[in-house]
């Protein structure tokens, strides 16, 4: 078996299996959580829950991750907030608007869309990698994070960092042969897909619950989320 076979495996059957596991796993977690049952809110609202929800998404997605200072709270830790914001921006921009990734989506979905120019994706990827390193340093040094971090949290970091790093090296033909890097990239992506439903990266789905609650709670009380 050489690297070409490996690549064929990691982007072929293993990728399909990982993707199916990801979808199945996330569906399981979704159903499992929702089946625990919501209770009805019988309290009379003071404001509009919907307004609160819309506001909290706009703020939470567009403003706070990049301009946390509006909260006037992050005296010491604004950098972490910004790093988190930039990391997610980079991640989603590269996954959805990087040309090679769009082509993967196209093969899966059957349609494509315009992508970002290579230099832009490239810079974004670099920003993503730097943000991840900042977040790692923060996790290594912040007293609260030292207290709450468990082994799966390190796995989370590593499994997100590796596809980023191998992808970046691939685009720049760094260190290793292209098909080796491509194989490693696909392998780490596959492992990540399997890992997501098992751990806390599943917040990508549960985020939409907690954010909605936050907005509804604020809207109900007519306060700014």
């Amino acid at each position: 078996m050489d690297w070409t076979d490996a690549l064929r495996f990691f982007r072929g059957p293993f990728f399909t299996a990982s993707l199916l596991f990801f979808i199945g796993g996330m569906a399981y977690r979704l159903v499992h959580a929702v089946l625990m049952g919501f209770t009805r809110d019988r309290v009379e609202s003071r404001g509009s829950k919907l307004t609160g929800v819309v506001k909290t998404y706009l703020k939470g997605l567009l403003v706070l991750p990049f301009i946390p200072w509006v909260r006037r709270t992050f005296g010491k830790n604004a950098l972490t907030y910004v790093a988190g914001g930039l990391f997610h921006l980079a991640l989603f921009a590269v996954i959805f608007f990087g040309t090679p990734h769009m082509l993967v989506w196209k093969s899966l979905l059957g349609f494509g869309w315009p992508t970002l120019p290579l230099p832009v994706t490239d810079w974004l990827a670099a920003v993503g990698i730097i943000s991840l390193i900042v977040l790692l340093l923060n996790r290594l040094t912040h007293p609260v994070l030292k207290l709450i971090t468990r082994s799966p949290d390190w796995v989370n970091w590593a499994l997100v960092f590796l596809p980023f790093a191998t992808g970046y090296m691939m685009a720049h033909h760094m260190f290793l042969r292209y098909e080796v890097l491509f194989s490693l990239h696909m392998m780490t992506v596959d492992v990540l897909l399997i890992w997501i439903p098992l751990g806390r990266i599943a917040h990508l789905m549960f985020y939409f619950f907690s954010r909605t609650f936050q907005g509804a709670q604020a809207g109900k009380r007519a306060v700014n989320p």
Binding site: V34, F74, G84, R200, Y207, T212, R221
Partner: protein, 418 residues
């Protein structure tokens, strides 16, 4: 054994609302930045994420495959009686349930209510700080956490009427508004009760107090014991039904407003057609409707600021009303602390913390941040609409030998009546 009771309570409480939020947590630790206890004292165990740790363990170990697996291979720890005792001090003494962390969480997790749930497990297991239990027991048996008996209450109300020359109606059937005070006001800030009487009289409001529903504070809610919470709520709701009032007005008390206005309907049957409102809202409405007139600029001497109480402002939404009044009373002298409104810093005395003597050093350390905030804008006086905050301010200002004058907004309004 204690653990068993706590876990049973957790399992009962956890539904999709809790499960989805616990799973949304990325363990980023940013909530610590919002927590005044962590900021003031630097103990990482005060981070809100760590305060819900036991609830997380209960959820993962009882409800998820991964959690059970982690437990089996030793990656996660079981909850023990020692854990309960340890976390009891953290969630009762170093948390006011102010919910600022929920404003800061990138996921928007409602940490305040979740920590309240953690407390509920403690209450079920009987691992609650002794001072809090003592106050709760007094409220259960005597009717007031400060031990005010029905007789003392009646005498005190009469005395207030004489001393300030106001009428404090008791048990008047057919009144429209039932006003319920806190024992703190009765015993420590009686001028506040006189102020309410004066305002209601001036507005020509048909109001009453009740000798049955005479305590608005809810120590069951501080403890997070669902049965006691309901019992204390029911005393007031029953009194309101009996007197046939249209609304219950909570006096200057934050947690009570939260319990009556935002929680009661979800945990018990509340009487239909009785509105729950707060003095800050009522004063504003009466003023806007022209039923009371206030002297413009009555308090324009010396910088005055407003302290946002977490349960009335951030969690209650009565944010612009007190400000409109203040801007009228002190158009030149009113200045905002930073941060304020929804983002305001809690005083550190709420959530029952003030009644736990062991927590005194913590709440004073937290209050140091409030002192800094007031200093930064050169505040000469501060006002608020919560007696619990007010008591914390009075004690805190004395603790730091600050010259800032502490007042209730209601008192100021009553003095500015025309």
């Amino acid at each position: 054994m204690k653990t068993q009771s706590a876990m049973t309570a957790y399992v009962r409480e956890i539904g999709a609302w809790t499960a989805t939020q616990l799973q949304a947590c990325t363990r980023c630790g940013l909530c610590a930045d919002a927590c005044h206890f962590y900021q003031a004292l630097g103990n990482p165990e005060y981070a809100p994420v760590w305060k819900v740790e036991l609830l997380r363990r209960a959820f993962e170990q009882r409800f998820t495959l991964a959690g059970r697996l982690k437990l089996a291979v030793g990656l996660d720890k079981r909850v023990t009686d020692e854990d309960l005792a340890h976390w009891s001090t953290i969630v009762y003494e170093a948390c006011t349930l102010c919910n600022k962390c929920a404003m800061v969480c990138p996921m928007g997790i409602q940490l305040g209510p979740l920590i309240h749930d953690v407390r509920a497990g403690m209450a079920a297991a009987g691992v609650v700080p002794a001072d809090l239990v003592a106050a709760t027991t007094k409220q259960k048996e005597i009717g007031s956490p400060l031990g005010v008996t029905g007789k003392t209450w009646a005498e005190r109300m009469e005395w207030i009427g004489d001393e300030w020359e106001v009428k404090v109606p008791v048990d008047v059937r057919g009144a429209e508004t039932l006003v319920v005070f806190t024992s703190i006001e009765l015993m420590k800030f009686p001028e506040n009760i006189a102020a309410v009487a004066r305002i209601m009289d001036k507005a020509g409001e048909k109001w009453t107090t009740s000798s049955k529903g005479r305590e608005v504070v809810n120590f069951g809610y501080f403890e997070a014991d669902p049965e006691l919470t309901k019992l204390f709520l029911a005393r007031v709701f029953d009194a309101a039904k009996e007197l046939g009032v249209k609304r219950i007005m909570i006096s200057e008390c934050g947690h009570a407003y939260d319990a009556f206005r935002w929680t009661a309907a979800n945990i018990m049957d509340v009487p239909a057609g009785i509105e729950v409102t707060h003095i800050a809202q009522v004063m504003h409405d009466l003023w806007k409707a022209g039923r009371i007139r206030l002297k413009k600029g009555a308090f324009d001497d010396g910088t005055v600021t407003f302290h946002d109480s977490c349960k009335i402002q951030r969690r209650g939404g009565i944010i612009k009303e007190p400000r409109e009044i203040l801007k009228w009373l002190a158009p030149k002298a009113f200045r905002e602390m930073i941060p304020n409104k929804e983002q305001a810093l809690c005083c550190g005395g709420g959530g029952g913390v003030i009644s736990i003597q062991e927590a005194d050093p913590l709440r004073f350390a937290v209050f140091g941040m409030k002192i800094d905030q007031m200093k930064a804008i050169g505040a000469e006086s501060v006002c608020m609409v919560c007696s619990n905050c007010r008591l914390q301010f009075v004690e805190g200002v004395a603790h730091f030998s600050s010259a800032v004058r502490v007042r209730g907004l209601t008192e100021m309004v009553s003095q500015a009546l025309e």
